[in-house]
Each structure stands twice: as structure tokens, then as C-alpha cells.
Point group: C2
Chain length 170, copies 2
Amino acid sequence: MKRILVDMDGVLADVYSRFFELHEKETGVRLTVEEVAGKLEAEAFPHQIKWVTTPGFFRSVPVMGGSVEGLRKLNEKYHVIVISLATEFPSSLTDKQMWLHEHFPFISWRQIVFCGDKSLIKADIIIDDHPKNLDVFQGGTIIFTQPHNMLLETRHRRVSTWKEIEEILL
Amino acid sequence: MKRILVDMDGVLADVYSRFFELHEKETGVRLTVEEVAGKLEAEAFPHQIKWVTTPGFFRSVPVMGGSVEGLRKLNEKYHVIVISLATEFPSSLTDKQMWLHEHFPFISWRQIVFCGDKSLIKADIIIDDHPKNLDVFQGGTIIFTQPHNMLLETRHRRVSTWKEIEEILL
């Protein structure tokens, strides 16, 4: 059974929806995808670091459309590992796992990795929104479109929806 | 640079000291190492699961004697990754990382892995107290003596102190 790494933020967790919402709440300005395209999250949203280091933030993020059904199907055919660079923000760790248990209860604790370097993990395929994680991966790579990466030309196979992931992998 | 996985509980964190202390506090009985030798933690201490699932427990554990100096030295010669099967107890995650930052500040967030299966990680050497983690590892293995494993005959190289780890690896 092939092993597949599935990133949380920007693949399973729709962090941008929450960023747009919080930015509007704090500044009164509703940004558009076009305005933040090509910018890293912290550049597009000046308060992003404050938000992601606030306990509770990662419990409040909506799930990416189609991801629950898509991951359930992948989980039947692949050895799925959900992975997140969460050790960068220690207060996020417990929140992230509680969020996973709530929305993806079919993922067991044995299938979760929180780390600071995804290249440590043995796997065949990775789905991620950050080129830095894909570029160093020795195996199949899929980039999930998010505003920060949408203007990039990349050698990684690009998808914009979970339906496309299903079409490629199932 | 060779990569070495260093387990937390029973190698960096002296969880037994805390277990003996809490058992005495709750029952009035001070157990001895001989009485718990060869038993898994949950068997030796009937309240162990309650303790390890209580937020704050993993902040209160003392460091293993010699481990701060020993890990500091390993960290100069090896690519050290501190690893813990912490996703089994989600409430422990943030506590464990805060504890590491406090006692081992030279270990960066990029060198930490919290997961549910240590065999996912690419590395050359592992130091662990649980044979289940050592038996499946493809590389050099060192078993750190703790009461639960002290009666076992094992193919893994056995050490009982951080001084011995330094002698073998430095």
C-alpha cells in the first residue's frame, strides 16, 4: 500500500477563509483573492502571526470543501499520513489534533505527524500547498492551489479541488 | 551527518520518578523499582493513564540525569531529532514541546517530531526505551534501561545512563 502525506493547512484546513474573515473583522476591509495572490500568508495578512499563535485559532478553521469525503476515499486505498509543520507554533499542536479528531474521525492518532521538517518522513506521494515542502520531496508531488502559490510556475502537478485529487489518485 | 532519533519519555524525561511520586501521593505507598520491574507502565501504576492525560503532567516531569549535557554534545556531531509518540495523548502535545523548549533550548522546532509511528521517520540510529519502537527500526538501535524493559533479553545495545550513550556515540 502506497504511503501518502496530506498537509493540513491549505489542503484539509481552509485557513484563507478564516484569514479573510479575521482581517475584515479587525480592519473593516474585505480583501479579495486577487489582492493576496502571490504573497505569502504573513505578507498578505499583517496580523497572521498573532492569529496562528493564539490558542483556539486552529479549532476555528473551516474544512476545505470536499476534503472529508476525498480523504475518506484515499484512506481506503492508501496508507494516509496527515502531516503539519506544527512544531513552529507549539500552542497549535493540541488544537490541531482536536480539530482532526472532530472533522476527520476516521484518521487515527497513528496516522498523524506534527514536525518541523517534512523531508524526514518516508512516503511515496505528498499533497501540499507550499513549494518548499514539495521541492525537497523524493516521490510524487501534488501542489494544492492556494492564493500564495497561484501565480507560480511549478514542476509539481497542480490541483485546485479535492475532486481533482480523487481523479488523479483513485 | 548521521541522523539520530532520541525518544522523550524514558530517555530525556524521567517519567518513572514522577510516577513513583504520584503513586505515593495518591495511595500512601512508595513502590520500589524491583516491584515494578518487567511491568508496562500502565500495569505498574493503575492511575498512569489518568496522569498522562491530565494537562500539565508533561510539564512537571524531571529531566533524566545527564541528558541535557549528553544531548547537547550529540547535537554537535549528529542531526538530532527528538521524537515522541505523543499523538496518542493530544493534550500532551503542547506541554511536551514547552517542556523541551524549557530544558533543551538548543533543540529547535525543526528537530522535533510528534507522531504515532516512529517507523515513518528516516534515520540512522534510534535511542528508545520501548522494544516495540526499536524492533521495527532499520538502523542502529540503543535501548535505554527503564523498569519496564529491565528484565528483557534483547538484541538491542543496552545503556542505563547518558554517560554510556556518550561513550558509544561520541
